[in-house]
């Protein structure tokens, strides 16, 4: 279980997280929603240790994420970045097998390539794409490669940062379905941040809404439409009027 307790983070005068409390149960899919700039990515990066919170505690299975063996901790995670974050200088298969070609999870090159091709196939890409460079692929294909890289080392926990941003509705649907299928078949704990409500309904078991630096509402995805929370209602229905101030 991942747990955030009273996590604060500010950048200068901009107080992004102002006491975030959140629990993500093992094997469940949590989606964090919220407007742009509300600190969704910051919360996710705090869990991974890419950003250090100013105060508060983040634990994984009861252990403080900032303590202990960092490599062993990160080996439990896979992450799909918003823009893919594929390494331009490496061919697709080496991007996917990056973790399997070095460090504690290192395997022989042939075996790593085989696993990479299998993962590419799992996300709907043919082996012919394996030797291309990321710049030669379309946005949707790059997302799929990013997804294949996130699952290559069979992680227990997978993070998805805005998985459908920049994709057309059909490709977004395909990526949403893939994420759901993969999370279920791997039995992984998933945390997704998005403001795409179609993604939320396709991916989530539970939803948390981040607003004004705190978790405004959290609950099962099925309870989202009858929450009675004016902030959540305004957000999921995309209304300009409501408690969340919309700049015109």
């Amino acid at each position: 279980m991942i747990e955030l307790k009273d996590v604060h983070k500010a950048f200068g005068n901009n107080r992004v997280l102002q006491g975030v409390n959140l629990k993500i149960e093992t094997g469940t899919s949590m989606v964090i929603i919220g407007g742009s700039g509300t600190g969704k990515s910051v919360a996710l990066k705090c869990i991974l240790g890419l950003i250090h919170p100013d105060s508060g505690e983040i634990t994984l299975d009861g252990k403080d994420v900032t303590k202990g063996d960092r490599d062993a901790f990160l080996a439990r995670f896979g992450m799909l970045f918003q823009g893919g974050a594929l390494f331009d200088s490496l061919p697709v298969w080496q991007n996917v097998a990056f973790r399997l070609l070095r460090g504690s999870l290192k395997r022989p090159k042939d075996e790593a390539r085989e696993i990479a091709i299998e993962k590419l196939r799992r996300v709907g890409l043919t082996p012919e794409q394996a030797d291309k460079f990321p710049a030669e692929l379309s946005g949707g294909m790059q997302k799929r490669v990013g997804l294949a890289r996130a699952i290559a080392a069979e992680p227990e926990i997978i993070f998805f940062d805005e998985p459908t941003t920049g994709l057309d509705p059909i490709m977004s649907g395909v990526i949403n379905d893939l994420i759901r299928e993969i999370v279920v078949e791997m039995g992984a704990t998933a945390m997704t941040i998005t403001h795409d409500m179609t993604s939320v309904r396709a991916i989530a078991d539970n939803v948390a809404m981040l607003h004004d630096g705190v978790i405004q509402w959290t609950g099962a995805v099925g309870d989202m439409d009858n929450s009675g929370d004016p902030y959540l209602d305004q957000f999921i229905h995309g209304r300009a009027e409501g408690p969340i101030e919309a700049v015109r």
């Binding site: 240790g49 890419l50 970045f81 823009g83 974050a85 390494f87 990056f98 973790r99 070095r102």
Partner: protein, 261 residues
């Protein structure tokens, strides 16, 4: 009175930010060097950096040395002829190139070519979250990106300087023999007779220091790049300017250290 306070405050702010920057760069350099003694070491990245920084900089450093050697021969001949000392051309060309112009001009050319490309590459990786991706894939960006480049530059630039010295002396030789009526044998004889090993070695040590500075500045400003194309552009400019100024400043300090009486 008020404007004096504003002036002093602005001066104080700039001094503080300069000192903070020196501190950050020093910590960055220490962190980079410390990874040299802590595995893993990414040999493939190191080899790639060696080719990019060393081998591919050879044409630009060679051309710089060739033309500098030729121009130096013409200038020293023109100056020397005022004292009937034209015969010093070969030895002064060789000493001037090996001690000063070879390492400094070679270093500046490498700064223009390499510091900019490292800063732009790493800066782009930063803004496209590739550096964060490296971390999540259990790979330390300092080990994977910075150390191989800094080590490769520290080892490759002295070699470039050495090759540049030979090419520069050849430039002087071609002008001396072709334009200034020196005999080929006499020119080479004078070059070799008056050149001491320390002239060459001191230039190579300078080259190593300049290589370290160039790659360090490229990596530092790339890693601290701001957002978007503008951020990467600023990082690239800052890397080249900082590397060039530090090369010239450290050249003075090293010359003082090596050659002051």
């Amino acid at each position: 009175m008020n404007w004096i306070l504003h002036l002093l405050a602005a001066l104080g702010r700039n001094v503080l930010s300069a000192l903070a920057m020196i501190g950050r760069v020093t910590l960055f350099a220490t962190d980079t060097v410390s990874h040299l003694f802590r595995p893993p070491f990414y040999a493939r990245e190191f080899g790639h950096a060696l080719i990019q920084i060393g081998w591919l900089s050879l044409p630009v450093v060679g051309m710089t040395a060739l033309f500098t050697g030729g121009a130096l021969a013409l200038q020293i001949y023109a100056g020397g002829s005022r004292f009937n000392a034209e015969t010093v051309v070969p030895s002064i060309v060789a000493i001037g190139l090996t001690r000063e112009l070879g390492p400094v001009l070679g270093g500046l050319m490498v700064a223009a070519r390499v510091a900019s490309s490292i800063a732009a590459e790493i800066g782009t990786m930063k803004v496209t979250e590739q550096i964060d991706a490296l971390t999540t894939l259990s790979t330390n960006p300092m080990k994977y990106l910075t150390l191989p480049r800094v080590l490769a530059a520290t080892l490759a630039v002295p070699v470039l300087v050495g090759v540049g010295d030979v090419i520069g002396i050849m430039g002087g030789f071609l002008v001396g023999v072709g334009r200034l009526d020196f005999g080929a044998g006499t020119y080479l004889h004078n070059t070799i007779d008056f050149l001491e090993a320390w002239d060459v070695v001191s230039g190579l040590i300078k080259g190593a220091a300049f290589g370290f500075i160039v790659a360090l500045m490229g990596c530092y400003f790339g890693m601290h790049s701001g957002r978007g194309a503008q951020g990467v552009g600023r990082a690239t400019k800052a890397a080249v300017v900082a590397a060039s100024v530090l090369i010239l400043a450290s050249n003075y300090l090293l010359t003082e250290l090596f050659f002051s009486a």
